[in-house]
Symmetry: C2
Subunit: 201 residues, 2 copies
């Protein structure tokens, strides 16, 4: 039932998206809420606000706090975390593969393993190696999916999704949109988004 789905908009670069990716299933599943994973790119959204990188780099004081906050948050939720050397990671290929996999049963697993490589192993996931490794780990045709991810159709599908994010007023990640169109921004609004969805179904 698509009408009951909670949309989970995320960017692989986003640290708080990683935390939500790790938490969302354990909160949504017991309530019978299905989550639709919506990978997108914050870059164009930030660019329209005049930023050429993450706001955590634009405002270093805020950035220092974010790393500390993420560390505490992960400890609190017993989530593994290792700060990668590179931040933010513009994971275009991974996002395109996730876009191509929109209807595949392995979409969530793929996203989880990419986040794992980035924020547990502290790896660079912007290149094709990490994407290939993850696809192969899932027993998939890595070459075939990477090729499909770079087709005109999928490139356009991702552009359309980013445009849709901006039209809907999304300005950061993670963002949760309930079945009745209510928007919640930030990992700290995940529980509230779930409650909203439950009350209105």
């Amino acid at each position: 039932m698509p009408g009951r789905e909670l949309e989970f908009w995320f960017d692989f670069a986003s640290t708080y998206s990683y935390v939500s990716a790790r938490r969302i299933d354990s909160i949504a599943a017991p309530s019978g809420i299905r989550v639709r994973w919506m990978p997108f790119l914050l870059g164009p959204v930030f660019a329209s606000q005049g930023w050429d990188t993450s706001p955590f780099n634009v405002y270093p004081v805020k950035g220092r706090y974010m790393w500390r906050d993420i560390e505490r948050l992960c400890a609190r939720h017993a989530i593994e975390f290792k700060r990668p050397e590179m931040f933010p990671q513009f994971a275009l290929l991974a996002t395109r593969v996730a876009t191509a996999a929109a209807a595949e049963p392995w979409l969530q697993s793929f996203c989880m393993w990419m986040f794992h490589a980035e924020y547990v192993r502290g790896m660079d996931i912007t290149g094709p190696e990490a994407v290939t490794n993850t696809l192969e780990r899932l027993g998939l045709d890595a070459e075939g999916w990477i090729s499909r991810a770079q087709s005109t159709e999928i490139k356009q599908a991702l552009k359309d999704r980013v445009a849709q994010a901006q039209e809907r007023g999304i300005f950061g990640a993670p963002t949760f949109i309930t079945a009745d169109g209510e928007m919640f921004w930030g990992d700290d609004r995940l529980e509230q988004a779930i409650e909203w969805q439950l009350k209105r179904r």
Copy 2:
């Protein structure tokens, strides 16, 4: 015991500071945690980030979301809220009175009534009328306190506090600082700050 105090840094202009002001007692008091109310001004902090007004005005998409979020949050916590016509309100006089009242038993009441005027009655609290009304409501010598608030000593004390905020890496409000110096930003971190303080005392 000053060492057990939780510092609550807030700006009268800040909507999320209002929410925390309404919540903090009911969360801190049962744990025996004393809260030190630390009024300051975000203006100079924002100016150092290149903003001449609230980030919610600098980034209108984020601002629209904030008003919706505050409305939902207040409904959730059963907190009255009315959006004032003017935002943000640069409540310099009120902040100076609160600075002058740092050691007074009525500091918290004064702050609560100022927030009430602004975010429950939707009034303009930047002028002397609102401050005078609140001081009189508390049975205080309004003229005397307003005069003291505008003394060189208090003006300097507020400047010092803002400088201290910046030195400690405060970049928004509300901000909570535990007795062992751990910083938590945002109303959604209030419970976490209380837990931190409890564990380490």
